[in-house]
Subunit: 226 residues, 2 copies
Amino acid sequence: MPNSTRNRASTGNSAKNSEKKTTVSPSPERRRELLSTAAEVFAAQGYNATTVRRIADAAGMLAGSLYYHFDSKESMVDEILSTFLDELWAGYEAVLGAGLGPRETVEALVTESFREIDRHRAAVAIYQKESKQLSAQPRFGYLTESQRRFERAWLGALERGVSEGVFRADLDIRLAYRFLRDTVWVAASWYRPGGQHSPEEIARQYLSMVLDGITPRAGTTTARPS
Amino acid sequence: MPNSTRNRASTGNSAKNSEKKTTVSPSPERRRELLSTAAEVFAAQGYNATTVRRIADAAGMLAGSLYYHFDSKESMVDEILSTFLDELWAGYEAVLGAGLGPRETVEALVTESFREIDRHRAAVAIYQKESKQLSAQPRFGYLTESQRRFERAWLGALERGVSEGVFRADLDIRLAYRFLRDTVWVAASWYRPGGQHSPEEIARQYLSMVLDGITPRAGTTTARPS
DNA sequence: TAACCTACCAAACACTTGTTAGGGAACTGT
DNA sequence: ACAGTTCCCTAACAAGTGTTTGGTAGGTTA
């Protein structure tokens, strides 16, 4: 039995959102508030470990009341993840379409990623932990699709960089891709906004390590005492 | 109400295992078999999302039968994680006690980590995903303790390396630590044993990127066409 | 044959889970 | 004063959860 007529259509699948409802439509502002606290709880406890009542607690209401705003627990993560990915790809496409060189593209992608972590750290953490399980369900197919776009974008920049000589040619490029992708996004698990490092500064440090390594480059003395 | 007298004491807390039971003691071999399949399911579905009946299914028996071998679902992860950490630290301590230089220590730690991922990929994946939540419970306090040992070992090597000049001094060392730690262990999420890369080879590539970066070093021509 | 042990099954238990139905208080516009 | 809308509460539901209890087939030992 489908749900009643009171709820809005989920924004899920990050695409079409068409349904005419004249009966009831809860305010989108409250929706966003609730989604924000839900995302926080999801990120902290994990999706499956989070009960609807816990979210309601954090929001200062009872479990059933959440269903005035949302169809289901599932549609909450759906909306959290899809709105995050929409914003993420808006930023990514801006970078990819700017006609930058491969090295500058990688730099811009990394920086943009850390900005996104700064803005949506809860959503990123959820994406990190649960996307693998969620993407099995057809409803969350856009997660798999996004992952493929991701791979194409990064691999493209890396390959161009290798052929242009700005990246090393002796590396397994697929390994390098996973290396980059992981190092950037795991940061969401420890990053706390308002800390001593701005996202741009973290990006700079990460890029410095990824591009040049953690050992001193030519020109610096490699001391070897004892 | 505590559990009955039939089960063995959990090997958890990775330390003392003292209790005299003369009534019943299931064979340790079968225990290990079951723990292995349980670890596989936990790693694939997530701890909370995994039901006891699913584990029993994968083991070819009924849910209740698992309780002949184990106290609880919790004690299963406990034993999986603690035995993994025991083996891990055996390898780590061997490296740390070998009197290597800072760079060689880092290389050995990374290589050892990938070997551990090869052997215990399921346990590593579980550790990655659930340790944060689990460590909140006092039963899993050894997870937090292990994390601290981890930090000390890595930070120590990095600091020594900086003061000896083999690592760059201009990096936030704490950031570098998290960078190293994460990049190594996330590999468990995509690594499949029996693939085209041996753990040692993956370690070599990772170390090459981490130590020297993904851009060409001095001596190589940095082409810049157009 | 008898006693015993190992390793499982069958069936239920108490509890938690996501979700629904109906109602009501506060505020709005008329 | 009225109806309407928004937002939440109370109370319950069915399904699924981890766990327990008692039983039993098959092997080993005496």
